[in-house]
C-alpha cells in the first residue's frame, strides 16, 4: 500500500478509529440502557401515576422534547462543572442524551399502554390480579409488541445522536475520523467511510424494527 492512499491512511489510523467506534458503541448502549429503564418507569408513571406526579412527568417530557439535544449536551457539559460535579465529557454527554431519550421512550410507552383495549385490564382485574401483577403479566407483555418497533427507531436515533458528543470533545467515531482528516486531508474519503459505518449500524437496526413491526402487525387484542 502506498503512502497517502485512503486504505493506507485507514490502516495508520486503525487504533484511533477502532477506539472511536468503541466509544460510539458504549455511549449508545449506555444511553439506550439508561433511557429504556427510566423511560419505562416514567412511561408507567405517566399512564397510571398519581395526578400531580403525572403532571410533573408530563412537564419533564414536554420540556425535554422542545429543547435540541445539542443544547442539552452543552448545558450538561458546562453546567455540571459549576456545581463541582466533576464529570468527564463522555458522561456529561451520556447523561444529556439519556435525559432526552427518556422523554421520548416514556411517551412511546404511554402510547403503547394506552393503545391497549380497556378490556384487557378489565379481564385481568376480573380474575383478581393486583396492579403489579396486571402490569407484569398483562400490560407489559402486550404493550411490548406495540412499543418495540418505535423503540428500535429511538435506538437508531440515539446512535445518530452520539455524534453530537464530538462537539464537547469526546473522541467518538465521527471525531476520530475528523482527526484522521486533520492529518491527511482525505476529507471526502473519511467522511464517506464514517457515513457508511453509521449507515450499516442504523440500517440494520431499522430493518430489524421493520421486521418486528411486520411480525406483530397481525396481533389483535
Amino acid at each position: 500500500m502506498e503512502r497517502g492512499t485512503f486504505l493506507y491512511e485507514v490502516w495508520v489510523a486503525r487504533w484511533s478509529l477502532l477506539s472511536g467506534f468503541g466509544i460510539t458503541l458504549s455511549a449508545s448502549v449506555l444511553t439506550i440502557a439508561i433511557a429504556t429503564l427510566l423511560g419505562l418507569i416514567l412511561g408507567i408513571g405517566l399512564t397510571y401515576g398519581w395526578r400531580p406526579l403525572r403532571w410533573l412527568i408530563r412537564i419533564y417530557v414536554d420540556a425535554l422534547r422542545g429543547i435540541p439535544v445539542l443544547v442539552l449536551i452543552l448545558f450538561a457539559y458546562y453546567g455540571l462543572a459549576l456545581f463541582k460535579i466533576n464529570v468527564p465529557p463522555f458522561w456529561a454527554g451520556v447523561i444529556a442524551l439519556a435525559a432526552f431519550s427518556i422523554a421520548h421512550i416514556a411517551e412511546t410507552i404511554r402510547g403503547g399502554i394506552e393503545s391497549l383495549p380497556q378490556g384487557q385490564t378489565e379481564a385481568a382485574k376480573a380474575i383478581g390480579l393486583q396492579f403489579h401483577q396486571r402490569l407484569a403479566y398483562v400490560i407489559i407483555p402486550l404493550a411490548t409488541r406495540r412499543v418495540l418497533p418505535p423503540w428500535m427507531n429511538t435506538c437508531a436515533e440515539i446512535v445518530k445522536n452520539t455524534t453530537l458528543l464530538s462537539i464537547i470533545g469526546v473522541v467518538e467515531f465521527l471525531l476520530s475520523n475528523q482527526q484522521a482528516i486533520a492529518r491527511n486531508y482525505l476529507v471526502l474519503q473519511f467522511y464517506l467511510f464514517a457515513a457508511v459505518v453509521y449507515l450499516l449500524i442504523n440500517f440494520t437496526i431499522s430493518q430489524l424494527g421493520a421486521k418486528l413491526e411486520r411480525r406483530y402487525a397481525h396481533f389483535r387484542y
Binding site: 435540541p68 482528516i181 476529507v187 471526502l188 464517506l192 453509521y198 440500517f203 431499522s206
Partner: protein, 222 residues
C-alpha cells in the same frame, strides 16, 4: 452546592444577538422545510412510480439520509463539497442545503404515506368526470394529501427548528452558537444556557400552537 449568583445583565446586553440568532434559526428551518417539501414530493412520486429504477433510487435516497447522522451530513456538505469543486456556498447556504436534503428524505416518507392513504375511489371519480392525469393530481390527490399530512408537516418544522442547533458546529451564528459564545466570553454559564433553552422551548411551543390552529382550520375532510 447551589451558591451560584445569577447575573442576567449579560443576557440583556446580548439580547439582540440572541434574537437575531433565533430568527436565523427559524428562517433556516422554514426554508429547509419548503425545499424539503419539493424534494419530498418528487421522491414520494418516484417511490410510487412504475419504473423500477426510479423506485430504487428514491428508496436509496431516503434510507441513505435517514440512517446517517445529521452532523456528519453537515460536515460532509460543508467540508466535502469544496473538495468536489463546489466552492460558492457560504456557511448558512451549505447548512440550509444539508437540512433541505435531510428534510426531503423525511418528507418523502410522510408524503408517500399520505399519497397511499388516499382512497382509490377519489381518483376513479376524477377519472370518471374526465380529468386528465395531471388534473387529477393537481385538483384531487394533492389537496387531499396536504390535509392528511399537515400534522406531520408541523411536527417536521419543529424538529427542523431544533436541528438548526447543529449549525453551531460549523459556526453559523444561530442560538446554540450565540449561547456558547456568551458562555465563553462572560463565564455566565447558567444564564446563557437557560436563555437558549427557554428561547427554544418558547419558540417550539409557539410553532406548535400556531400550526394546531392551522390544522383545525383545514381539518382533514374524509
Amino acid at each position: 452546592m447551589l451558591n451560584y449568583n445569577f447575573n442576567w445583565s449579560v443576557i440583556w446586553r446580548n439580547w439582540d444577538a440572541f434574537l437575531d440568532a433565533l430568527l436565523l434559526g427559524l428562517g433556516m428551518a422554514v426554508l429547509s422545510l419548503l425545499v424539503g417539501c419539493i424534494i419530498g414530493l418528487l421522491v414520494a412520486y418516484a417511490r410510487l412510480a412504475q419504473n423500477r429504477v426510479l423506485q430504487w433510487a428514491a428508496w436509496a435516497y431516503v434510507e441513505l439520509i435517514r440512517n446517517t447522522p445529521l452532523l456528519l451530513l453537515v460536515f460532509m456538505c460543508y467540508f466535502g463539497l469544496p473538495e468536489l469543486g463546489i466552492r460558492f456556498l457560504d456557511k448558512v447556504e451549505s447548512f440550509v442545503l444539508t437540512l433541505s436534503l435531510y428534510a426531503g428524505a423525511y418528507m418523502a416518507e410522510v408524503f408517500r404515506a399520505g399519497l397511499s392513504s388516499i382512497p382509490r375511489q377519489y381518483v376513479e371519480a376524477a377519472k370518471a368526470i374526465g380529468m386528465r392525469p395531471w388534473q387529477r393530481q393537481r385538483w384531487v390527490v394533492l389537496p387531499v394529501m396536504f390535509r392528511i399530512t399537515l400534522p406531520s408537516l408541523s411536527n417536521n418544522l419543529i424538529s427542523l427548528f431544533k436541528d438548526t442547533s447543529l449549525a453551531a458546529a460549523i459556526a453559523v451564528p444561530e442560538l446554540t452558537f450565540t449561547a456558547r459564545q456568551v458562555n465563553a466570553n462572560t463565564f455566565r454559564v447558567m444564564e446563557a444556557w437557560l436563555t437558549a433553552t427557554a428561547l427554544y422551548l418558547v419558540t417550539c411551543y409557539a410553532i406548535a400552537l400556531a400550526l394546531r390552529a392551522v390544522e383545525r382550520r383545514y381539518a382533514s375532510i374524509r
